[in-house]
C-alpha cells in the first residue's frame, strides 16, 4: 500500500495505491488522519491505483466522511476501479460517498 498526498487547488488529493486490508488498514488510517487532523477539510481520494479494499479500509473512509460532515468539509472519491465500485455498491456505501469518475470532475464539482 502506498499513500501519497498532494495539494491541488482547494483540495488535498490523497492517492491510494495497492491493497488496503486488515493488515495495513491501521497504517492507512494513520496516514489519512494526519491529513485530516491538520485541519484540511477538502479532500479527494484518488483511488485509481487501489486494487482491493476490505471492510477495515472502508471504515477509514467512513471515519473521514464523518469528520468532514461534522466540520462541514467535503470528501470526494474518484477513479474507482470496477472491483472497488462493486464493493461500494454491495455495501451501500455508494449512497453515502460522493463518487466521481476522475479527479478533474471531482475538483470541478461543487
Amino acid at each position: 500500500m502506498n499513500v501519497n498526498v498532494v495539494k491541488s487547488g482547494d483540495y488535498s488529493i490523497i492517492s491510494v495505491e495497492g491493497r488496503v486490508d486488515t493488515t495495513n488498514a491501521g497504517e492507512f488510517e494513520k496516514a489519512v488522519m494526519e491529513v485530516v487532523n491538520s485541519g484540511i477539510n477538502m479532500i479527494i481520494f484518488n483511488c485509481s491505483g487501489l486494487n482491493y479494499i476490505s471492510s477495515s479500509g472502508l471504515r477509514v473512509f467512513l471515519i473521514v466522511q464523518k469528520r468532514m460532515m461534522a466540520n462541514k468539509g467535503q470528501l470526494k472519491l474518484c477513479s474507482l476501479q470496477p472491483g472497488i465500485t462493486e464493493i461500494f455498491d454491495i455495501s451501500g456505501f455508494s449512497s453515502i460517498f460522493s463518487i466521481f469518475p476522475d479527479q478533474d470532475s471531482a475538483e470541478k464539482a461543487g
Partner: protein, 642 residues
C-alpha cells in the same frame, strides 16, 4: 569424510615446507661442497706431489754435487792418482746416500796402469771397500753410464736398476765427464760416477697416502715404474706395458704426457682393477732426473666424507623433523585443547543447558576472544530464552483466553442442526469459520411467536477481538429487539440507532436480516450493506438478490432503513454468505468472486443446505489451495418447505 585433526594439517604443511626447504638447501650445499672438496683434494694432491718432488730433489741434488766437485778437482790436477781411493772413501763416509763411486779413466790414460784404470769404492755392510775395475771381461768404457755422458758431454742420470752383485738394492748412477789438459788442450779424460741407493725413494713414496687408498708412483724417463706400492711392478713393468696388458689406451696417453715432463690434475680416463670406480690422477715431473711422479686416488673416496656428512645430515634432519612434528603436535594440541571443550559446550548449549561450564583460557589471544564470544552468546541465549519463556507464557495465556472467548462466541450462535425438528417448514444449515481465534462475522436465526422465522447474517468491519466484541453486541441487540418486533426494517433501524450512538471507533456491521412467515412463505428482509444473498427458486433457478441501497449498521443513527418482500414457494432456498467467501484469496491474490459462488450454487440447486455449504467449502478450499484464510467465512442456507 575422513576426520583429520588440525595438528595433522599443520604438521603436514610444515613438514612439506621444511622438506622442500631442506631439499633446496641440501642441493645447493651438496653442489658447492662437492666442488670445494674436489678442489681441496686436488690442491692437496698437487701439494703432496710437489712435496715428494722436493724430497727426492733434496737427495738427488746434493748427490750430483760430489761427482761434479771431483770432476773439477781432476781437471785442475788437484788429485793425484794414488790419493783417489782414500778421497773416495772419505766421501762415502760423509755421504750416507752414496753407495759407491767410480773414477773411470779413458783407456791408457795412465800408461803404467795399462788399458783400464777405474778405482771403485763401495759399501759392503758397514765397511767401505775399494777395488780397481776394468779388465777384458769388464770393459767399462763401453757401458752406458760411461758412453752417454762422454758423447753428450753432459752429466747423466742412469735408469734405475737393481744392483744384483752389490747390495741387492735399487740404484741409480749419476755420471759426470771430467777433462784434463793435454798439450794445452782440454781433453775428455774419463767419467766420475756416484751410485745412489733408491731405497729411501720407496720409503718416501710408501709414506704418501691420499684419502684411504690413494697412492703415488714414480716413472723413469722411459716410463718404467721406479716406485709403486705393488713391488712386482717396480723395475719390471712400465706404464705402457701395464696399459697394454689391461687394454687401457687412456693410461698410455697419461703415461706419454708424464714422460714428456707435463704436469696436470685430471679425472682419469682409464679404469683400474685396483678400484672399480672413477679415478683422479695428478702428475708432475722431477726436473733433475726427468722422472715423473703421479698421485692417484678414487673419486668415491674423495667424496666419502661428503657422503658420510650427507648421511649424518639426513639422519639429523629426519630426527629434527620428527622432533618438530612432535613439538607441533604438542603445541597445537595444547592450543586447541579448549576448542574441543568449546565444541562440547556448544552442543550442550544447543541442547538447552545455558549454564554449561566453559573451558578456562589463561592466554590473552584469539582463544580468549572465542571464550568471550562464547560467554556472551551463552548469556544472551540464556536471557533470550528466559524472555522467550515469559513471552510464550504470556502468549499462551492470551491464546487460552482467546480459545475461551471463541467458545463463548460460538455458543452465542446456534450450532445445532437441524435446529427445529418440530418445524418441518424450515431447514437451516450454517457454518462460521473465523480467520483468527475470534471473529467479527455472525449469523443467527430464531422463531418469533411460533411462526415467524427470523434469520440474520452480518459482518463487522475488521477482525479479531474488537470485531468479536462488536459482533456480540450486535447479536445481543438483535435478539432483544426482535423479541417483540417482526419488521426487518424496524429491527435493523433500531439496531443501527443503538449501535451508532457512542460508536467512537466508527466500526460498522454489514447486515442482512429476513423474517419469513412460515404460514404463507412471505419473506420480508432488509439488507444493510451486506453481500446480496442467492435465492434458488423451484430447485433450478439461482439468482442473486438485488444490490442494497442501505448502508451498513452503525454509521449514522438517523439513517432510514426500508424493507423488501419476496414470496417463497415450497423448496425455495436462500444462500447467504459474508465477503470472506466472495473475497477468499489464493496466493495470486485472485478472489473467489460472485461468479464462482453463482456457478457452484447453480450446479447444486437440488442439494440440501448442508450439502450446498459443503460444496461451497470444497470450492473455496480448491481455490485458495492452502493459502492462509484472511477473513472470516460465514455461510447459511435456508430451505422453505411450506
Amino acid at each position: 569424510m575422513k576426520r583429520t585433526t588440525l595438528s595433522y594439517h599443520i604438521i603436514r604443511n610444515v613438514l612439506l615446507f621444511c622438506i622442500g626447504l631442506f631439499l633446496v638447501t641440501f642441493s645447493i650445499y651438496y653442489y658447492f661442497t662437492r666442488n670445494t672438496i674436489r678442489d681441496d683434494t686436488s690442491e692437496n694432491a698437487i701439494f703432496m706431489a710437489k712435496n715428494i718432488v722436493n724430497r727426492i730433489e733434496q737427495v738427488l741434488t746434493p748427490a750430483e754435487k760430489n761427482p761434479e766437485i771431483i770432476a773439477k778437482m781432476l781437471e785442475s790436477s788437484f788429485l793425484d792418482k794414488d790419493s783417489l781411493v782414500p778421497f773416495l772413501k772419505s766421501m762415502l763416509k760423509g755421504n750416507q746416500n752414496v753407495y759407491g763411486s767410480i773414477i773411470a779413466y779413458e783407456p791408457n790414460f795412465f800408461p803404467e796402469q795399462g788399458l783400464y784404470f777405474a778405482p771403485y769404492v763401495y759399501r759392503q755392510g758397514d765397511s767401505i771397500n775399494s777395488s780397481i775395475l776394468g779388465d777384458k771381461n769388464y770393459e767399462y768404457f763401453y757401458m752406458d753410464w760411461y758412453q752417454i755422458p762422454k758423447i753428450t758431454n753432459a752429466p747423466y742420470w742412469s735408469e734405475p736398476y737393481f744392483d744384483e752383485g752389490g747390495g741387492n738394492v735399487l740404484m741409480t748412477t749419476y755420471s759426470v765427464p771430467f777433462y784434463t789438459y793435454k798439450n794445452g788442450q782440454r781433453t775428455f779424460s774419463g767419467i766420475v760416477t756416484v751410485d745412489i741407493s733408491l731405497e729411501w725413494l720407496t720409503k718416501i713414496m710408501s709414506q704418501v697416502k691420499i684419502l684411504n687408498t690413494g697412492y703415488a708412483f714414480l716413472l723413469s724417463r722411459n716410463g718404467v715404474i721406479i716406485a709403486h706400492p705393488n713391488k712386482d711392478y717396480v723395475m719390471n713393468q712400465s706404464i705402457f706395458t701395464i696399459a697394454r696388458e689391461n687394454n687401457q689406451p687412456a693410461l698410455r696417453e697419461t703415461g706419454r704426457k708424464m714422460i714428456q715432463g707435463k704436469s696436470n690434475f685430471e679425472s682419469a680416463g682409464f679404469k683400474s682393477e685396483w678400484k672399480p670406480g672413477k679415478l683422479w690422477i695428478n702428475y708432475a715431473p722431477l726436473p733433475s732426473s726427468n722422472w715423473s711422479i703421479a698421485v692417484i686416488y678414487p673419486e668415491d673416496e674423495m667424496f666419502a666424507s661428503l657422503h658420510r656428512m650427507n648421511i649424518i645430515l639426513i639422519v639429523l634432519i629426519l630426527f629434527g623433523l620428527s622432533v618438530l612434528s612432535f613439538v607441533i603436535y604438542k603445541i597445537v594440541k595444547k592450543l586447541t585443547a579448549p576448542l574441543k571443550h568449546f565444541a562440547e559446550s556448544a552442543r550442550l548449549i544447543a541442547a538447552g543447558n545455558f549454564n554449561v561450564h566453559l573451558p578456562e583460557i589463561k592466554t590473552d589471544d584469539e582463544m580468549k576472544e572465542l571464550h568471550n564470544s562464547f560467554s556472551f552468546m551463552q548469556k544472551e541465549l540464556g536471557d533470550y530464552v528466559i524472555n522467550l519463556k515469559d513471552t510464550t507464557a504470556a502468549k499462551e495465556k492470551i491464546e487460552s483466553e482467546l480459545r475461551i472467548a471463541k467458545e463463548i462466541q460460538m455458543s452465542m450462535i446456534p450450532h445445532i442442526f437441524p435446529p427445529f425438528p418440530d418445524l418441518p417448514q424450515i431447514d437451516v444449515f450454517a457454518v462460521l469459520k473465523s480467520a483468527k481465534e475470534v471473529g467479527g462475522d455472525l449469523y443467527d436465526f430464531f422463531v418469533i411467536d411460533g411462526n415467524k422465522f427470523c434469520f440474520a447474517i452480518g459482518d463487522v468491519s475488521g477482525k479479531g477481538v474488537p470485531a468479536s466484541l462488536f459482533m456480540a453486541v450486535t447479536r445481543t441487540l438483535v435478539r432483544s429487539i426482535s423479541d417483540k418486533e417482526y419488521s426487518p426494517s424496524v429491527i435493523v433501524g433500531t439496531l443501527n440507532k443503538s449501535i451508532s450512538q457512542n460508536n467512537e471507533s466508527s466500526m460498522f456491521v454489514t447486515f442482512f436480516l429476513g423474517v419469513l412467515d412460515l404460514s404463507n412463505g412471505n419473506l420480508k428482509y432488509t439488507n444493510a450493506g451486506h453481500n446480496p444473498p442467492v435465492i434458488i427458486k423451484n430447485n433450478k433457478e439461482a439468482v442473486m438478490f438485488e444490490k442494497t441501497k442501505y448502508i451498513p449498521v452503525g454509521l449514522f443513527e438517523d439513517f432510514e432503513y426500508g424493507e423488501s418482500s419476496l414470496q417463497l414457494e415450497s423448496g425455495d432456498k436462500i444462500f447467504l454468505y459474508t465477503d470472506g467467501v466472495s473475497e477468499a484469496e489464493n496466493s495470486e491474490n485472485k478472489l473467489f468472486g460472485d461468479g464462482t459462488i453463482m456457478d457452484i450454487v447453480s450446479m447444486n440447486v437440488t442439494a440440501s443446505p448442508r450439502e450446498l455449504i459443503g460444496k461451497m467449502e470444497e470450492g473455496i478450499s480448491a481455490h485458495v489451495n492452502g493459502f492462509a484464510q484472511s477473513d472470516d467465512i460465514t455461510m447459511m442456507t435456508i430451505v422453505y418447505n411450506g
